[in-house]
Amino acid sequence: MAAAQAEAAAPSPAPTPSGASEIAALLAALAPALSTIEAQHRALRSRAVKVLGALAGLVAAVLAAGLAGAFGSAWPFVAGIALVAAFAGWWFAMHERIAAYRDGFKRDVVGHLVAHRYPGATFEAQRGIGIDAFRASRLFRQDIDRYQAEDLIEGRLGATELSISEVHAEYKTTTTDSKGRTQTHWHTIFKGVFCVADFHKHFQGVTLVVPDGAEGLFGELGKRLQSLGRTFSDAKLVSLEDPEFERAFAVYGTDQVEARYILSTSLMRRLLEFRQRKGTRVHLAFVDERVFVAVASSANHFEPPSMWSASAAIDEADMADYMAQVGLAEDVVESLNLNTRIWGKA
């Protein structure tokens, strides 16, 4: 089709990486905030070392006294209490300060980066994509027992309304052994970055794009087929003409034509490139005129330098990293070509 050829002339979907001069300018603009963070980090670290030393000394003293026979036969009990007390002491002495350090970093540094990259957008470290929106994507069928979301960026990128945050959804299993002890295990359903954006075409049905079993084993695909088949019986497999896309993704849709209307040949290419660039599992759902994008990641984004690291100094490479994390929202919009509004949806 001519449209496919026009694609060659279309702008590259790759996001604009932050140039060296932009990074330098950001470092300069953030210098006061960064030096505050560094001072906070130094104070936090030396306090942590002191508190840890004092608590370790306490526990060691109790243990030594116990071993010397000071508490008689009750010494393991006393040692246990000392250990619990040490943990409680750590929590009282450190918890609030660690939270303040992290919140300060997110507010002053990440907040600035978001405002710089997306004028008019908001960043809220404590909030995230709600569990209802996560469920509405219909991507992960497992019942959720624990759901955490943070670092929400919300705003309008060009013509596209978008929310993006980190999400960690888990379910639990409980096992009881022969002695009647129950154990709870937590399993991750999804951990990574989850994004909800307004899609640029009208549609009514549901179209799901999930990683194909080619990434893992046949069993994975079979499992997915089953789980979708059970709870999502009206979504049928849609086989598309791009063999490379078919190897990477499996597509399910309630409407065969609509699935192809959404997944134009060029969008399939763009999604493949996006996935290759991310190098991780990518799920997409097209539901209620919106697109849901789930990019799996084990990393925790937007976090300040670790309390234990020698220094909290942020160099160019660190700043480029943070900007890349902030840039994911733009990458989604560019990769899915969401700002191209020529199909009768403003």
Binding site: M1, A2, A3, A6, E7, L240, V257, T340, I342
Partner: protein, 192 residues
């Protein structure tokens, strides 16, 4: 006696296999017909835009009479033919209309007033939308037809497809004009 049972069982098994195969081939053929009907819906939508398009552009495009007449004639042919047209004829007609619309959109480049007119921009948006949906419907049809072709041309389907009168269906393919013409898409501003 027992060999009679075996024979009976074999015949019954063959019959079951035959019916199963027969049904699956018919189901695939029906899927192709259904997909073609959704292409028809989109084609009709596109034909419905043509009178509006011509009314908008003819005031500006005095020198493109032939092209506009051709489009009108194609539309008349399609709407009067209706369901009587065979799949081959419909595919051919679709190709002709796509070609003529493509040429029209190139010709528009020579008429800056027309390009800037609000009416035309709206129509162009509607046309983009229909083209995109039409493209999706064609691809869905091609997928269904390929599935059907695979079924009637490979073992065991090919053994009975001939006696059932199942034949290949035409596929929607880009015409030579479309393949060679990069500008059409660029003029539409389509990047998807």
């Amino acid at each position: 006696m027992s060999s009679l049972y075996v024979l009976f069982a074999l015949v019954a098994l063959a019959a079951i296999l035959y019916f199963g195969l027969y049904n699956s081939l018919i189901r695939r053929r029906n899927a192709v017909d259904q997909a073609l009907s959704s292409v028809d819906v989109m084609l009709k939508k596109r034909f419905d835009l043509i009178p509006n398009l011509i009314a908008t552009v003819e005031r500006y495009m005095a020198h493109e009479r032939d092209l506009l007449n051709e489009l009108t004639a194609l539309r008349v042919k399609a709407t009067s033919g209706g369901q009587d047209l065979s799949a081959e004829e419909r595919v051919a007609l679709d190709r002709q209309v796509s070609g003529a619309l493509g040429r029209l959109m190139i010709a528009v480049e020579n008429y800056p007033d027309l390009k800037a007119s609000q009416n035309f921009l709206q129509l162009q948006g509607a046309l983009n939308e229909v083209e995109e949906q039409l493209s999706a419907a064609r691809r869905a049809y091609n997928a269904a037809a390929t599935d059907y072709h695979n079924a009637i041309q490979t073992v065991p389907g090919n053994l009975i497809a001939g006696s059932m009168g199942l034949a290949r269906r035409p596929l929607f393919e880009a015409s030579e004009a479309e393949r060679g013409n990069v500008d059409v898409g660029a003029l539409f501003g389509r990047s998807s």
